[in-house]
Symmetry: C2
Amino acid sequence: MTQEVPSDDFHVFDTTLRDGAQREGINLSVADKLTIARHLDEFGVGYIEGGWPGANPRDTEFFQRAQAEIDFRAARLVAFGATRKAGVRAGDDQQVVALAEAGAPVVTIVAKSHDRHVDLALRTTQEENLRMVRDTVEYLRGRGCRVFVDCEHFFDGYRANPAYALDVARAAHESGAEVVVLCDTNGGMLPSHVDGIVRSVLAETGARLGIHAQDDSGCAVANTLAAVDAGATHVQCTANGYGERVGNANLFPVVAALQLKHGRRVVPDAALAEMTRTSHAIAEVVNLTPSTHQPYVGTSAFAHKAGLHASAIKVDPDLYQHIDPELVGNSMRMLVSDMAGRALVELKGKELGYDLTSDRDLVGRVVDRVKEQELRGFSYEAADASFELLLRDEVRRGAPRFFRLESWRVIVEDRPDGTHANEAIVRLWAKGERVVATGEGNGPVNALDRALRHGLERIYPELARLELVDYKVRILEGRHGTESTTRVLISTSDGTSEWGTVGVADNVIAASWQALDDAYTYGLLRAGELPQE
Amino acid sequence: MTQEVPSDDFHVFDTTLRDGAQREGINLSVADKLTIARHLDEFGVGYIEGGWPGANPRDTEFFQRAQAEIDFRAARLVAFGATRKAGVRAGDDQQVVALAEAGAPVVTIVAKSHDRHVDLALRTTQEENLRMVRDTVEYLRGRGCRVFVDCEHFFDGYRANPAYALDVARAAHESGAEVVVLCDTNGGMLPSHVDGIVRSVLAETGARLGIHAQDDSGCAVANTLAAVDAGATHVQCTANGYGERVGNANLFPVVAALQLKHGRRVVPDAALAEMTRTSHAIAEVVNLTPSTHQPYVGTSAFAHKAGLHASAIKVDPDLYQHIDPELVGNSMRMLVSDMAGRALVELKGKELGYDLTSDRDLVGRVVDRVKEQELRGFSYEAADASFELLLRDEVRRGAPRFFRLESWRVIVEDRPDGTHANEAIVRLWAKGERVVATGEGNGPVNALDRALRHGLERIYPELARLELVDYKVRILEGRHGTESTTRVLISTSDGTSEWGTVGVADNVIAASWQALDDAYTYGLLRAGELPQE
């Protein structure tokens, strides 16, 4: 990727590491934060807000290590903190001093701009709050920092007391803050509110304005774009919209809309074309399943299952997509589901290399099998390999088989010392041989996987290259507690590509067995082995 | 709830059962559709689009049964279909006739309004397409139906060829369609586009306009509100935003914004106050986990974990929420997480009935335990009961115990006939007695649960009232396949309330055991049993 540094005329300001980390379920280590900072820098954001140095040891360590270990291409590191306490000099407030000493070139300070918050939460006077803003900005500027000011609850404050909210914005601007960020902290605004208030503040203060939108009304992306339309030139976002409560404005649809629909170039095109990967990589670091329905980058974002659409897509894919998915590193997918018409199965077959157009009976049989299996709880949407095995079974009137199961047994035991034993035994036939193998693991499915590999690796040495890279369990019909049906999805890799398989049973281990069986069968097919029966 | 029927001056038009069902992973039976229709009617939507009668047997059956079995309070049932085929009379097109004969009082027909789609997908002339719209509307009106027309790809069509898009809108309006619905079928529009186009079409045609927005740009809610601001009086939405690809405009934030922020009364207030329950009930029917981060109705929508916020919330909760969550049937929650400051643990303790303000050491110990446990993978955010047991352990310097485990063992076996045996044995001590009990189940955790109950029910008969109502498995560190750590969350009910417990282990069964142990311990505490040790 070329060293394209975004223009400073427009700021894409990421706060995943600070505000995003407030999301329920996120808990970032220093190593996680460093990895995410690298992804964000590669994506091309202009600013990365890394946390609150001094507030906790993790954030302090992050700032030290980020500056020592990361060779930023484009992004500037930002330290976040608050205005000085009431009644002390900025230089005597340890919190403010720590911001200057974090070594980040930019500091964002949060300032109260809603009169009621000054009274009730800050418990000081409106005048002292204005002095706190001015003193803190001037002190940090004096220490060589660029300063942005987050005006917390600005929109609510402006609607309650516009004169005071404007006083705070002016105090920040006049004391040298480069950007006055208007924050919809509680997320209650709609785009029409944002539009009017941003225009007024711009006219009244002449300050460079930023927008920080929370998604409580489901409008954070639109509010961010409304602020840009109204003249804001600094947008605060988080990767995948992570953030407190509902979340923050999602970086990815904001950047995509600005670049692909507003014609404003904010990240390198090559980085935009990696956006889907970036989104998923960050989801992996924070350990949240990527939202399949996220705009632009979700696995469903360009997926079609409607019969009507499938027929038209055969004519021209652009008829049914708002952008070319490759611009954001995503791709169109045809979904196999029980709404699948014949056109869809034909398209999917083609994707997998089977020409089905000439055999109407075959397509009908596949459609019927898929419907029947999905009624039982199977889902082929994330299990292409299991679908291909089903398709081959119908094409060749027989599923490919490399081994035949006789039986398996799994024992899990709690031991008096608090540890657990997991043992599995499998009995099967392969290439005419009866194989009995055992495996131990750190869980019952892992033990079963090891027993299967152990039994087969001598006969099929290429199995050694296969690795299970993801394992998902979904309990269906969730109101029945542990009596539910279980669906297991497994992703397997041979080092160059990945495939998904599915199993469904009333039992997590039996469902896992089915998915493992498909995973290894497909892996052996790919490796060029000939099926035995 | 009173029988308040919404005014027909503004339509809330739900299409969960038609367009919503296109979402990846949704597959509705007729019974599911009937249940969802009842929920939507109770919520107070004006129109329920039920599907395409005639297109498949399921939708045909739904229309018959919905009219026979549901006593709608407010909602009118809508049948969806397409304009007649090119070159035939509407009355000779079986698809159109089936719409008239479905017996629904309203029919929505989809019409092409983008010239390119007329050419490439419909393969007819622009003039014939206009005749198809007029004939179909007139035929259905003649059969006694009210008719709405969905102008598919209207916005893209208008941007490509405004004159032709307007011709289609006029053809619909002039032939008697009550509402001309402008559809952003590919979801590419931003609110600024929608605003301008809706205003132009309204000025040019004078027709009553509706909006159908898809969420591909992350702006479906905002686009819907922009259309209303521009003069549309009919909004098409789906429950929880279900729909093809990224989804449709989400009914719940649209209704909440209109009612709570625009001052437009579209559903009864009492129904709005049930919105969270309605959202979750529909998620349950479609068998998708409710999105925790959904605006207004997500379990995280009013959840706070930031230390700063927690301190201010002690002063006044309205400082940090955009609406009173009770207006939509949700509630504020304080999250216990390793970002938990002391203020948060004190608040949470208070919520659970413990006054911790006087004991700084105790609060410190709880904060430390929570941090340490969350590092190991525990999450107390959905496991209040496990948190309360931890808290009691620190308050009383010892966890409450009703039984002491000696050991357990689980065996899962694949039998030659394809069925599975699941057996568990538990050995434990309770009230001075050693108990050895076995259980069989349809899965290993179910077997373990039954063995535990079987062993304890004679000693603690109140266990018979407890039911496991939800069981969730989450694989942590997903890149390591089946070697990952497993977190299990269990919800248990005693018929009047529910509580959540958590277990974490390298093994799904051991993790389940921990969550079961906490679930029964907490249930026995609630039932008034005295701990044994």
